[in-house]
């Protein structure tokens, strides 16, 4: 069985597909909105050095990633152990060496990886224009505004993904999530601007 098939099998027997998907969207959304908030905060403040902005955003991105990994691992380990215990009770046998035991050990790691990497990767993508500008590569618009556009685009894509899952209009779902990001930006401008 290939690694991908094995992962699919373990997710299938623990019925955790939807949990992985939910964590991907929820924490991805967290990452995008956090970056959007920090970048808009810098955009409305007096001009700061780009390396300071990158470090502030990177610090937040790493913290989101570590928080995602650790919180998901701790909670999912407890949930999987509980589910395995209930199954062992019903089966009146030890399932530690079975696929269920393996799933109880491996799926929390997989879920934690998704939960941590979603905000980290999304944050790093949003920071791309800042890195390019820091490296001296000219951009057609301010790196902060380019990062804001990427953040809005990624939030839109998360909405498209949700629309695809729900089997409804991807455009409507994408616009809905982007409106949330726009409302967040407006609130930040209102209070920090």
């Amino acid at each position: 069985m290939s690694l991908l098939q094995q992962v699919r099998f373990l997710l299938n027997i623990t019925r955790t597909h939807d949990i992985v998907r939910r964590y991907l969207v929820v924490n991805g959304f967290d990452g995008a909105l956090t970056m959007l908030g920090i970048i808009i905060g810098f955009a409305v403040s007096s001009s700061a050095d780009i390396s300071v902005i990158i470090n502030a955003c990177l610090g937040a991105a790493i913290a989101l990633g570590v928080s995602g990994v650790s919180s998901a691992y701790v909670s999912e380990s407890a949930e999987r152990r509980r589910a395995l215990g209930k199954l062992e009770e019903a089966m009146i046998s030890d399932l530690q060496d079975s696929a269920h035991g393996e799933a109880a050990r491996l799926t929390p790691m997989l879920i934690a990886l998704v939960n941590g990497s979603a905000p980290l990767i999304i944050s790093l993508l949003i920071l791309t224009p800042l890195w390019l500008a820091d490296a001296g590569i000219p951009l057609p618009l301010s790196p902060l505004y380019a990062a804001i556009i990427i953040a809005l685009l990624l939030v839109f894509l998360l909405g498209v993904f949700l629309g695809h899952i729900a089997g409804r209009s991807w455009l409507r779902s994408g616009i809905q999530t982007m409106l949330i990001a726009v409302a967040t930006a407006a609130l930040i401008y209102l209070f920090a601007g």
Binding site: F9, N12, I13, T14, R15, K86, L87, A90, M91, I92, S93, L95, D97, S98, A99, H100
Partner: protein, 89 residues
């Protein structure tokens, strides 16, 4: 030498993997196995199955190991078909 051609097993398994995946995994333990799986009873967390396996040379240990790998538990061997064959050489 004796060879096992057919066994009928009474097995308890969790709902997952489902009956199709369970039967496939058992069939994969041999080259020419034909597996017939019947779900006899469904409880809150478990299913009771009757599994009939036919093949030219059934490896019972491999089948038993495949069942426990998937979290199943063999309750009884309800039917067997064993044939004797002349030793070659």
């Amino acid at each position: 030498m004796t060879v096992v051609r057919r066994v009928v097993l009474d097995v308890l398994k969790p709902h997952q993997p489902n009956a199709l995946e369970f039967a496939r995994a058992i069939a994969r333990t041999g080259a020419d196995y034909c597996v017939r799986l019947t779900v006899l009873e469904v409880d809150e967390n478990t299913e009771t199955l009757q599994i009939e396996i036919e093949g030219k040379l059934i490896d019972f240990e491999a089948i038993q190991s495949s069942i426990s790998d998937m979290g199943g538990s063999l309750h009884s061997i309800d039917e067997v078909e064993v044939c004797s064959e002349p030793d070659i050489g």
